[in-house]
């Protein structure tokens, strides 16, 4: 794959910029020699057509929701409505500086406040911060809130452990560790749910809390959720809810009603904002009454028709974001919530869960289904035993030849050769049928022509890539000849 550095020629440019008043030498002459850059950065020199063609060519070697079905488990790759893109580009948001005095940015503050109210209502919880820039950032914020709560109660250094079901999200352990907690893994039971007896044994005076993913990464709703949260509370801990899977129960249940003390929401999953090839997202965090005093500052507060920033929160953990959060992501997500309303949100979860259970029903004959229960928005198959010498990795690569993005693979860790499938509600039945058909054909191929899978993909811009070589001979930037 050629890079932009392979195009162009010295002296080419893609933009016409204003002239200087003085000469470059005159201006640079004012900068002391020790500070002045000796050798300039080596950047591409391309014309505008060079530039546009290069990135258009790259875009054609990518696959997005706008390209096709993207059943990536726990990522909720639903359609990204186009109205929202236009709204987020409005100069009233995009060109607004965050350090303007509050009276100059009332519209933007009003929007943030409105979003806060909507999300508090959806979560059924009384407090919120919009600052976290992504789900994992929300998790860290939540863990820091727990830490401050413990500090305030004189229990810091006493309650040092976070319990983590083995079906929880991948970022959770790292987030707990960043806040200084140690992590204790909790096994799932045969139903794929938190093992309540194991939980009872793990609870004690050294436990700060639990991080729950509801429904969990098997796509199974924790049917004992009220027991679980009650046990944790009774033992003096708090309950963190990972909201990456909120699309499963939107408009039907609220974490606040299940005993959640902290809940993060991935706006780039449940609330339809595009994932951008890996970001930006947004991970607002809602909290129960017990954690209100510790929320990040500033707080956005409405007073009559005015909005103001409140800094006077002496017990706050401080800022987790330099400003107010990923505002342009919030603009898109608010537009989504306002379009759907309560009823539309409820329909979204119905459509998502219907699609997941439909695909599960179609595929469970051909692939092992380790936990055969009612699924929520996603379900987990295993590629184990599907064909001689065939692994889930091969199934994923073969799906590309059929024009589909593969599901999440090898997660959750508790299912060997896992395939985690999340279709979302925005895919029509004919797409689900075509995907199921491809999966069934691949299962047949795995038995009859396993090499077709082992050598896949065949129809992509590049074929199977050598990941070991990338580590053995690290090339993490272009070699532009001898440096400096």
């Amino acid at each position: 794959m050629s890079t932009i550095y392979d195009r162009g020629a010295p002296g080419r440019r893609a933009v016409a910029l204003p002239p200087l008043t003085k000469t470059e030498q005159e201006i640079l002459g004012a900068i002391p020699a020790g500070l002045r850059r000796r050798e300039g950065p080596r950047l591409p020199e391309v014309s505008q057509p060079d530039l546009v063609r290069h990135y258009t060519a790259l875009s054609r070697k990518n696959y997005g929701v706008d390209t096709g079905f993207y059943p990536l488990g726990s990522c909720t790759m639903k359609h990204n409505p186009k109205l929202h893109e236009d709204l987020a580009r409005h100069p009233g948001f995009a060109d607004l500086h965050p350090l303007l005095p509050v009276e100059e940015c009332q519209g933007a503050l009003a929007l943030l406040w409105e979003m806060g109210e909507c999300l508090k209502g959806i979560a059924g919880m009384p407090g919120i911060t919009l600052q976290p820039a992504a789900g994992a950032h929300g998790e860290l914020t939540g863990m820091l809130l727990l830490k401050r709560w413990l500090e305030d109660r004189g229990e810091l250094g006493v309650r040092t452990k976070i319990l983590l079901p083995d079906s929880a999200h991948g970022t959770n352990p790292a987030s707990a560790a960043m806040a200084g907690f140690s992590v204790v893994s909790l096994p799932s039971d045969q139903r794929g749910m938190v093992d309540v007896e194991a939980l009872k044994r793990a609870l004690g005076p050294d436990v700060a809390g639990i991080m729950l993913t509801v429904p969990n990464t098997l796509g199974i709703f924790e049917e004992d959720i009220l027991t679980v949260t009650e046990l944790v509370h009774d033992a003096g801990g708090l309950c963190y809810f990972d909201g990456a899977n909120l699309n499963a129960y939107l408009g039907r249940a609220r974490p606040g009603d299940m005993g959640a003390d902290v809940f993060h929401i991935n706006l780039h999953k449940t609330f339809s904002t595009p994932h951008g090839g890996g970001g930006p997202g947004a991970g607002p965090v809602t909290v129960s009454a017990s954690l209100l005093p510790y929320l990040p500052v500033p707080d956005i507060v409405r007073e009559g028709a005015r909005f103001k920033l409140v800094w006077d929160r002496p017990k706050s953990i401080g800022r987790v974001h330099p400003y107010y959060g990923n505002v342009l992501v919030i603009v898109r997500a608010l537009a989504y919530i306002l379009t759907l309303g309560d009823e539309g949100l409820r329909e979204a979860s119905a459509g998502a869960v219907l699609a997941a259970n439909y695909l599960k029903a179609k595929l469970k004959g051909a692939y092992r289904l380790p936990y055969d229960r009612l699924a929520k928005h996603e379900f987990v198959l295993s590629g184990e035993g599907v064909g001689e010498g065939v692994r889930t990795f091969d199934i994923a690569k073969r799906l590309m030849d059929y024009g589909f993005h593969p599901p999440t693979i090898y997660f959750p860790l508790i299912v060997r050769e896992a395939l985690m499938i999340e279709p979302t509600e925005t895919e029509p039945k004919e797409v689900l049928d075509a995907f199921a058909e491809a999966m069934l054909r691949i299962a047949a191929e795995a038995r009859e022509h396993p090499e077709l899978l082992r050598e896949a993909p065949h129809a992509t811009p590049v074929r199977r890539l050598d990941e070991a070589r990338a580590v053995r001979e690290p090339r993490l930037r272009l070699d532009l000849g001898c440096v400096g």
Partner: protein, 439 residues
């Protein structure tokens, strides 16, 4: 009601039959009844696209600040964004993709990530860069955590001239990791005045240019630090003409990439960048794209060194970061490619030239002077007897500068901060000076 739902009544019936359930509500029987009964709606009606558009645009237009001429900085800057950047970003094969876990379907993303890493290394004078962090502030905080992991020690030296909102984010992360921030004072020239290095120091932070807009002299700083990290937080625009901190032995260079082709966005999303030495690669947070080959020997790219990351290493990971600021990093990549070395230098020099021209005009007015004598780049602190009054005069002339209280945590109570970019015209500079003069 939900306009994005494609299922017809017949589809729903057929799907339920395949599942073997009587109705949609039966799909939710596993949620405890008590939980379902407690559910209360938010009270939101469904709205059509036109109504949503009217409402949201109404809010956008309600912020008076958007009509002011911005001389605003403090970490984010109003630079010209060539339209070609937005046009590339609107290719939805980029914007609607997920993280490039499946490399064969993500060569577009992985290739530009590799380009981005190359360009950031070039700007920073470093050996390796990741594919982005949330923003400059959290990138700085993560650099501090990395320093602590690498060299031990729980003391972090942070200049008093560090922008307050950067300091506050670093302080939150540092508290989470059990580290202590110590303040390093500045001298009369506004530059860092480093004294004794306390025992247990794991990092010294320098901001280039600093929170007052003044260029720091990094010569010899690393020599004072022994094993401790020199972490430089940089503005990428001045780096076109200023020697990068990599040449002064910096261990990590981070910064806010918003000035590179990204709008102000009321503070988010932003773009953190993170560059370091190859020796520290395995301790670096965040995703990295690496070059390799496919089975036919064709060049391609994959996400690599993933054993550092949270989904593999779990609680032992270098960071919990997963989703980052990919699309903002693509904007920066296209911006840097569009400008090239000459264009970027031009932008930097235009900023410098115009900022200095404005400073000259302001300081020629009676009662106005620069707060510090150190050389500034494109942002400076104006000292005057009544900063609130001066800012109000500017406001009446349709000009926005940061509220003076932004400077208070950095110890300045008699001034205000002014930033000038290549977008500000001669006429706007005149208007600024005239407003202060009361003309």
């Amino acid at each position: 009601m939900n306009p994005y739902l494609p299922h017809t009544a017949e589809d729903v019936r057929a799907m339920l039959d395949a599942i073997g359930l009587p109705d949609v509500e039966a799909l939710f029987n596993d949620i405890p009844r008590a939980v379902r009964e407690r559910y209360r709606p938010v009270g939101l009606p469904a709205r059509d696209e036109l109504a949503v558009q009217r409402h949201v645009i109404g809010l956008a237009e309600h912020s008076a600040g958007r009509r002011l001429i911005p001389f605003l900085g403090g970490g984010l800057y109003d630079h010209y964004i060539p339209p070609v950047v937005g046009h590339v970003l609107s290719r939805s094969e980029f914007s609607t993709a997920y993280t490039p876990y499946q490399a064969e379907l993500s060569q577009g993303t992985l290739t530009w990530m590799f380009e981005f890493q190359t360009m950031i290394c070039e700007l920073a004078g470093m050996e390796v860069a990741n594919a982005s962090m949330y923003d400059g502030a959290t990138a700085l905080a993560e650099a501090v955590l990395m320093a602590h992991r690498t060299v031990g020690g729980k003391v972090v030296l942070a200049p008093r001239s560090l922008l307050p909102h950067l300091r506050e984010v670093v302080a939150t992360y540092a508290w989470g990791a059990g580290l202590a921030l110590h303040e390093v004072p500045y001298g009369e020239d506004g530059r860092l005045a480093l004294g004794q290095i306390p025992a247990g120091t794991c990092a010294l932070i320098v901001q280039q240019p600093n929170g007052f807009g003044i260029l720091e002299d990094l010569t010899g700083l690393k020599d004072c630090l022994d094993k401790a990290f020199l972490i430089a937080y940089v503005n990428p625009i001045p780096l076109a003409v200023i020697e990068p901190p990599g040449s002064f032995g910096a261990d990590v260079i981070v910064g806010e990439g918003q000035p590179l082709g990204n709008p102000l966005s009321f503070g988010g999303p932003l773009l953190g960048f993170f560059a370091t030495r190859m020796a520290h690669l395995r301790r670096m947070p965040g995703r990295v794209s690496g070059q390799t080959q496919d089975v036919e020997g064709r060049l391609g790219y994959v996400m690599t060194f993933q054993t550092r990351e949270q989904h593999i290493r779990r609680e032992g990971a270098t960071s919990n970061i997963c989703t980052n600021s990919a699309l903002c990093a693509l904007a920066a990549t296209v911006y840097l490619a569009a400008l090239g070395p000459n264009g970027l230098r031009r932008v930097a020099l235009l900023c410098y030239e115009r900022a200095h021209a404005l400073a000259e005009r302001i300081t020629s007015l009676p009662g106005y002077c620069l707060a510090f004598e150190g050389l500034f780049f494109h942002e400076f602190v104006v000292r005057c007897p009544d900063p609130e009054g001066a800012v109000a005069k500017l406001r009446r002339a349709g000009i926005a500068v940061l509220p003076p209280d932004v400077l208070a945590p950095m110890g300045v109570r008699d001034g205000f901060l002014v930033a000038v970019t290549e977008k500000r015209t001669e006429g706007e500079l005149d208007r600024f000076a005239a407003a202060l003069e009361g003309r």
